[in-house]
Symmetry: C2
Subunit: 680 residues, 2 copies
């Protein structure tokens, strides 16, 4: 006998029409997928653990709408299940300032991650599942299951075509993430028409190859029992993620059903009306929710969820009594606080200390702080021995059955999957519990992950890229590996820290600021080659993003630089001193942090009346914000020994000094104003 | 009986040692993969159609080393097969200025594409195979097989883990590219150690799911016959690409064989010696090629290749006699020339013509020129009706058996695979025959393809991105779809045109310049919303990258802008005129092209003594090269109706005018110098 009644069917119709009405009111949006997916959404919700009174409850089940364009469906579900989405909000779908924007945004209650760019959501879901597995392995105790939540995700053909989902799905299979359940909307339609124009692969077989459990619901439009059985079976699959292929009709019930014209354009008025009539609704009314549907959601979904929440709250109290240390740690993490004095472990350097590559200095930081910060969960896209991202005692995050590690492990072997790593880090961060995710690759290959990095910044996920081999200084690997445009790119991204520390103190400062931030991601660009410890650097100064490393009376020029070129500026200043040119030196490890300092402080770093020249072995673009002139590399690099490449491109003390001299001469007898002054 | 003799084994040993010696001489590089793959390389070469005297021969077989770090192997093969790689060149492996850089570069003779960033090469190979299929379908005639070449590629675990290869492999299977043969170096090792730490999927099954033929050679270290049989079978697979999994031992023969330590570091001296001794070579000598190996390559590879080349040359002559028009077209394309007067088809607009979205104007260009330019081969990453990239009469590039098109078709349904599209376009371009590949997506999602775009620029593949929905002007889809940092990113990339045309004439100019360039890719950023045809624009002016749209006597300010904001500048100028502020207006559709104009011309556009303010609804970064002040958007966008978003962010005539007034006031009584003046 079916576990579903006519009331469930009414609820499904209500969901369908709420989505259609939103798109119609906006005269913009995507009605097709919600019409096909409403039954699956309803069935998932009926067994979801959630509490609208605490959307951040750490043991809630998560739902990620990877095909974010179908968000009218999500807003309908959040409305019905008691989250802070009123009918009036739904009526403002896609309007400026509305709570229902054109794609779901992370900061909204009940929205787990920002989706829209295809392939990201399902990849975030892998990150959520990793975090859940780690959190459970770390804190669950016999009789105290603090964490046993699932991550559900909807994804469409587009998500499956994107490479990022291939990367993360392969890894999810490897990691045996049984807590991950993906529902694939097999509606055979994309914007270009039928999927057979470009997408004829056997998706089920591919996911089996990844090590997933694959199920199929043939009539996703109507078969609520089939959907429920598939979900139950997926939950029983403890050591494999599950892909449930649900065959649906895009725009089900619409006159345009099964056509790509229903994907991304509102239904015509008469179509909306016939849909309502056929579903037994008044064709003249919109945004209608029958009271019995509200009652169903209240009694069958919200109330049970709240009960589970209350039981869980009680459990955590008992847990804290029995395991006071762990309990305190859980409470701290849930509050989003770092441990007191964690930063005491950050190393401090003196000028007489050895010259060390900043990637190595980064390794020392990670080594020093990992024990204090159980929320730190790191990895590398298969460059561990180059990125130096793994601390000595690290346990790999691996399925216990593999014999290679455990879910309690905090080091992730991402494989050669930069974009996937970025999207997974976003998911880990979105899980909560203060997770601090970091991932290593070469700076140049952070660009592979640009789609995910952008979403870190937009969503405010404070993930950290450990981006080593940050310039031509990597040497022999040549121009395919040497970043040029990369810093300009990410510095132009809003809400993004882009650190390029010059020495050990600056590396410590970069981590200190990046780990403290709650809503800003960071890229930390690190050298392959050794760099000296600088006279004049300190963690405190560097934490301001930029500071005067070396001041001068009657300065003729300010040289501003980052990373490996700061010590070059110091050397150039010596050459210039011989020519009676007085040089101030500014180190500017992070533009974003510097921009948040007071105007007064900023002007003390870049005062009037002294011309400013920047030095960085990457593209000059973006530097004019601080410097009158820029010495950089606006062409591609070269393969060879690093010192020879530096010499070829004239990044030597003499090469810098020559340009500084020209800059001084150029501005002689001119009125020199700091670039920081702006008319608006 | 084996078709291989002891001489072949000697050749394989020679190849192995040439690779090892290069890495040893450089004391840098990757000896592991060459040691494992040398047999496969030798077997492929023995049946490859090539002519070292004409590396660009259009009907040569192509070989792409997707695992580009193994390039010591490639240089060895090119040396043996008579390309312009001398032993002295190999001895300079990874040295500055050498012909043997750390990763293979496109401009080198016999190197088909630049590889190194993983996943790109195999994806380029898909593009090469597409181009070959199209070229053959277009020009082959009964008795005149002008094109029947194969594309071979080596790829490793890393290439398979990258999402871009998943995208392109799925498409290659869909397209039934029987001319593509990929050899997967299954050596079970990546930099992080054994592949089982992150990569336990069933690769063979995955590729079967994509629709590929999958073969296996169990002993890739030694089984030359097995390799040859697999390749022969792959060639017989006419309607499927083939993946040959060759199980090898990384660093085969070395004391470190099978370990990740042999992946990316030179062998120790005693290891090199034992390797040479075991192979019957003098342990004290390096870079040794026995004469009989040269002879083998000469008689069995080079001479047969040259004979095929000569036969082909004769065939083309006969073809040209029998099909004079097609013959002339082939000759023109092989010469890399565009048809005479092709640009006559570019539309010209007058100010009184209708306001039209530049994406629509782009569609008109494509429609007008497609018949004249058979080398144009375009597509979209599943946004055809939004990008407007398909001309009316277009035939889809599809396998004939699909019933959806034909290989003679020039419109590619890429699916939702932006990165794959970018890499495939590079491959199509690298094929030769003057192919002009373009691909459509939203501007914001060009970032997904950053890895491939970078290689377009580095290699000089003149591909074109038709990048519509280029700003907040796209409206309701919101911040996940609205580019902010995107133009700053790609403008900072060397050798990259980034067009943002303001009207019909500028769209025509963008295509004219982009299609004429032989070594520079282009992004053409296009609006979703309608834009007026501008007074003062022309194709000729816009072809300079920047020009004075509207001059003024005694100008108080120069407003410089691109795309949708140029007409806004015109409106703002009217507001300012009422306040007696005289405004010059500059349109700057492409920085890269403008930078190539004479200094005199550039200074005529941005003269001294007039403050310059830029206006663009994207990040301001990069604008300081031309403007003293910038009005832009250095935060994320918003979901809503486009005009409301413009208003919210004050991109209105009044909002621009206010900032222009402040700029004028700020620079009053100051000496104003054009930002184009530079001390060095």
């Amino acid at each position: 006998m079916s576990q579903f009644t006519d009331l469930d069917k009414l609820a499904v119709s209500t969901i369908r029409l709420l989505a259609v009405d939103q798109v119609a009111a906006a005269n913009s949006g995507h009605p097709g997928a919600p019409l096909g997916l409403a039954p699956a959404a309803h069935v998932i919700w009926k067994q979801m653990k959630l509490n609208p009174g605490d959307p951040g409850w750490i043991n809630r089940d998560r739902f990620v709408l990877s095909n974010g364009h179908a968000c009218a469906l999500l807003y309908a579900m959040l409305h019905l299940s008691g989250f802070d989405f009123k009918i009036e909000d739904l009526q403002q779908f896609r309007q400026l300032g509305s709570k229902c924007p054109g794609h779901p945004e992370f900061e909204l209650p009940g929205v787990e991650v920002t989706t829209g760019p295809l392939g990201q959501g399902v990849s975030n879901a892998v990150g959520l599942a990793i975090a859940q597995a780690n959190f459970a392995a770390t804190y669950n105790k016999p009789g105290f299951t603090l964490s046993d939540s699932y991550t559900f995700t909807f994804l469409g053909d587009g998500c499956l075509q994107e490479g990022v989902s291939s990367e993360t799905s392969s890894l999810a299979g490897h990691l045996q993430l049984g807590n991950l359940i993906a529902l694939y909307d097999d509606n055979q339609i994309t914007i270009d028409g039928a999927t057979n124009v470009s997408f004829t692969e056997d998706v089920a077989k591919r996911y089996e190859a990844y090590g997933w459990e694959v199920l199929h619901v043939a009539n996703g439009n109507e078969d609520l029992d089939g959907l429920a059985q598939a979900i139950a079976q997926a939950k029983r699959s403890k050591d494999k993620p599950t892909l449930i292929k649900i065959t649906t009709t895009i725009g089900f019930g619409s006159l345009q059903a099964g056509s790509h014209s229903v994907h991304g354009a509102p239904l015509k008025l008469d179509d909306v009306k016939q849909l309502k009539t056929n579903m037994g609704f008044d064709p003249e009314r919109s945004f209608v929710v029958p009271q019995e549907v509200y009652d169903l959601y209240n009694t069958q979904i919200i109330q049970p969820g709240v009960q589970q929440y209350e039981a869980w709250t009680k459990l955590v109290q008992e847990y804290s009594a029995k395991y006071p240390e762990l309990g305190a740690e859980v409470q701290r993490r849930l509050a989003g606080d770092l441990p007191r004095d964690w930063e005491a472990a950050l190393p401090v350097y003196k000028p007489e200390d050895d010259a060390v590559a900043t990637r190595k200095l980064s390794e020392i930081v990670l080594q020093n702080i990992q024990a204090t910060l159980p929320e730190m969960i790191g990895g590398s896209a298969d460059l561990t021995p180059s990125n130096l991202t793994r601390w000595k005692e690290a346990v790999d995050f691996q399925p216990p059955a593999s014999g290679l590690g455990d879910y309690v492990g905090r080091y992730i072997r991402y494989g050669v999957r930069e974009h996937g790593m970025g999207a997974i880090m976003n998911g880990i961060s979105a899980f909560g519990a203060n997770y601090k995710a970091y991932g290593g690759t070469f700076l140049n290959f952070v660009s592979y992950a640009a789609g995910a990095v952008r979403l870190s910044a937009l969503s405010g996920h404070p993930v950290i890229w450990v981006a080593t081999h940050d310039s031509i200084g990597l040497g022999e690997d040549g121009p395919t590996h040497q970043p040029i445009e990369t810093l300009a790119h990410f510095r132009a991204l809003p809400n993004m820290q882009v650190w390029r520390p010059a020495d050990g103190n600056e590396v410590s400062a970069a981590y200190k600021v990046a780990l403290t931030h709650k809503h800003t991601p960071a890229i930390i660009a690190l050298s392959r080659q050794n760099l000296p410890q600088l006279q004049g650097s300190s963690i405190e100064k560097a934490m301001r993003g930029g500071y005067v490393l070396q001041d001068a009376d009657n300065a003729d020029i300010t040289l501003v630089s980052t990373g490996s070129e700061v010590s070059l500026a110091v050397e150039a200043a010596k050459v210039l001193a011989e020519k009676k040119i007085n040089v101030r030196i500014v180190s500017l490890p992070d533009f974003h942090t510097f921009d948040q300092q007071s105007e007064e402080y900023q002007l003390s770093v870049f005062p009037d009346n002294v011309p400013i020249m920047s030095i960085e072995v990457l593209a000059t673009s973006g530097w004019a914000k601080y410097a009158h002139e820029s010495f950089g590399i606006d062409h591609f690099g070269a393969s060879g020994k690093a010192p020879e490449i530096y010499k070829k491109f004239e990044f030597t003390p003499e090469g810098v000094a020559t340009r500084a001299e020209k800059t001084v001469a150029f501005y002689k007898n001119k009125q020199v104003t700091s670039p920081l002054h702006k008319p608006f």
